[in-house]
Amino acid sequence: MAAIQERFDAIVVGAGPSGNAAAYTMAKGGLKVLQIERGEYPGSKNVQGAILYADALERIIPDFREDAPLERHVIEQRIWVIDDSSHTGMHYRSEDFNEEKPNRYTIIRAQFDRWFSSKVREAGAIVLCETTVTELVKDTKGNVIGVRTDRQGGPLLADVVVLAEGVNGLVGQRAALRDELKPENVALAVKEMHFLPQEVIESRFNLKGDGGVVIEAMGTVTKGMTGTGFLYTNRESISIGIGCIVDDIRKSGMTPYNLLDSFKQHPSIAPLIAGSEVKEYVAHLIPEGGFRAMPETQGNGWLVVGDAAHLVNAVHREGSNLAMTSGRVAGETIVWLKRRREPCTAANLAEYRKRLEDSFVLKDMRKYRKIPALLHNNRHLLNLYPRIMSTAAQTWLRVDGKAKKAKETEIIQRLRTQRGLTGMLADGWRLARAWR
């Protein structure tokens, strides 16, 4: 352990997408980097759906497709509005997604993160696993100068600490660098891994080769709570899960596993996973408070990236790309400061924030800043409309001797009684304003 008693240019807390992006970028930039991970290996504590967005990784490791453990590239997206017995779907599938360098992949995080970490080591960073960071070390002026861990020995010191500790990161919070998470700003997602033979998955989803399907489902499946269900095809398995805002789950008195089981039993979902063998059940929090729930992103001797910085675009179900991009930008900023021989003060690290503002990361976070509150105050958007859509579609499609004109009147009449035209106009107006 003598080797790690020296001073580092940077310490990275955590080895998920944001931490790996930061550690890789800094090691490639010639910095002396120590990365600390509490799991047995990088990935063993990490949970995601999971979709990998190629663009964000390509900007870090351009040739990642050569050896990264990828499952299927996404050729079809299904967005389902679900009520108790139906789904109304918008599907988009294109042969164009079978391109030479596909844009989105399903992945299995325990395997993917382990691969990413091997690249971090190759780049020259020291990766210390099975070590939990217990607190930040500050100097007398309050500047962060290192970390303490649950291993024996003194503090580990560095010019800057990159906090990539995830949504439930305690280190930054206990050092009062950010506030406690609020139950209304985080979603709890639970997921199972269902294994099926490759050819069964391919026939059920009309796939060939490495192509894959993604289903995002909203509606009554979340029992009036704000949340979504999802189903992703991997090569020989299906990831299926559901997530709802913690405050909603708490008040509902429902258990997350019963919620997942009822999603699995939905008539549109059950046949897709029939006969599968479940090999794992996981749970994880997702920061969904949006831009307004974001903490300070940097200070004297520290900055925060990824989920720990609340960087998730809940509307587009994006997170890992914001994590990788924020990690890369943090790493690039630190390398840039080092080359200019500038210290990692709050003022200098503000460059990180500036670069994030110039990127899609904070532009998207800002764009959707009003959405979390909108959903919080308008539960019917996820509950009432799915039922309205389903009954309207059924009225329209059933051939039962009724005149079409009468059917139209019936549909409009039902809209009037269930929500009212002014109510619908107001919903549309609020959504459009929040979306802008």
Binding site: T132, D150, E180, V246, P256, V282, A283, L285
Partner: protein
């Protein structure tokens, strides 16, 4: 803990730090609504209400998500730390 959740957790890998639970419920006379809600909200079903109406935890099946920590942050009824490095849940797939 219902049978259903036990079955789910049975698939998972854990390295339990015997005798050193990473989550503790502080001694209480009457649990708050927040603490009581954990009996249903915890995705691993780690919490239960005993005969005296107090809330107890057996953290062996914990997936370290932090939901209970967030729910009880305001009441301070829970002491929450990550397990020592290498211990706790070990995801095979994540």
């Amino acid at each position: 803990m219902s049978n259903r959740i036990e079955e789910k957790l049975y698939q998972n890998r854990y390295m339990v730090d015997a005798g050193r639970p990473h989550i503790k419920v502080r001694e209480h006379a009457v649990p708050s609504e927040a603490l009581k809600s954990l009996v249903t909200t915890c995705p691993a079903g780690c919490y239960s209400e005993n005969e005296q109406g107090k809330v107890e935890i057996v953290a062996d099946g914990c997936m370290e998500c932090g939901t209970c920590r967030v729910v009880c942050a305001e009441t301070g009824e829970i002491e929450w730390n990550y397990p020592r490095g290498g211990y706790g849940v070990l995801f095979k797939f994540g």
